[in-house]
Symmetry: C2
Subunit: 209 residues, 2 copies
Amino acid sequence: MIQSYNSQLLDNAVEQLAKLPGIGRKTALRLALHLLRREEEEAVGIGEALIAMRRNVRYCRKCHNISEDDLCEICASSRRDAGLVCVVESVKDVLTIEATREYNGLYHVLGGVISPLDGVSPSDLEIDSLVSRVGSEDIREVILALNPTLEGDTTNFYISRKLEPTGVRLSVLARGISIGNELEFTDELTLGRSIVNRVPFSNTLPPGR
Amino acid sequence: MIQSYNSQLLDNAVEQLAKLPGIGRKTALRLALHLLRREEEEAVGIGEALIAMRRNVRYCRKCHNISEDDLCEICASSRRDAGLVCVVESVKDVLTIEATREYNGLYHVLGGVISPLDGVSPSDLEIDSLVSRVGSEDIREVILALNPTLEGDTTNFYISRKLEPTGVRLSVLARGISIGNELEFTDELTLGRSIVNRVPFSNTLPPGR
């Protein structure tokens, strides 16, 4: 039953909030009533921040990380090692790796991993742009930092085949990360160490290949 | 540590969302990144709905329920029984009782219950306005529908003393509601029945008074 709250404006706010993932109508109502009890600036602050973010945040032309300019802060920085590119699944993984403060190279955000079951094929991801980056920029090493899942491993393998002709060195994060865990939930120490102790990609292939 | 997300706009959106009750920075980031992946209309819709709600929703002059006008829809309706006033703690309780479809009178929203520990005294609540309503309007019965907690019972007792001189009939919800439970989490059938089977307030006082 869609309950009506005596006010079209409250109804609408609840309906909009309930569109967010993990927020149902009960929680949405609780949040809306909370905002009604607080200063006007609080609701206006949240509303304006969401609108400004959505309207102005773009994606970096080079690495596809979020950015407010054509190039993101990381790609534009002269203090980062431009010869090192870390391939990650999502923007969130960039934030997670940055928080370790162990990595000083650039990134490449794929926007997902190859997953036939979810209908994600290589052409949906930023793989071609990675290959052309490696071909045109002076990159000496590509670190594959996808989540250690079946889809992540498949994508690692696909990328390694695509990059083979370029002769670039490939490495993956040290498997200090427990299999099946997401990067986001790995503690910063373990994740930082697994970047420092990264191993050549060929070491991770099954023997006999 | 306050993490920075490469974008002042994203930082700000996360910070604003994290002000909401029950939403931490991790959840706020998840929600913000979700909105970045969706159509612009979605973030703008949420933002504008929150701002419009906070700017335009007011409180009913008579019962202090949320309203878009001077009088709320319930107080303004000619189909409601204006001789019956149900006293509730919060706006949410009005919604909960309305959902039972068993009640056809008006409401009076106190805005809380007496709680010395939380620093809520009778003067912080809409109790004086209730007494003057009972004195000036043609009200034959006041139903006390506060949550069956220590604070709710204290407030019931305080109100009953204040209303005693007016001679209005006082009743409380039938104690089908299990003690300690909040109205909001009571199922609609039980709550509806407890309105129909309400009992005179004096019946609920300890014997010997």
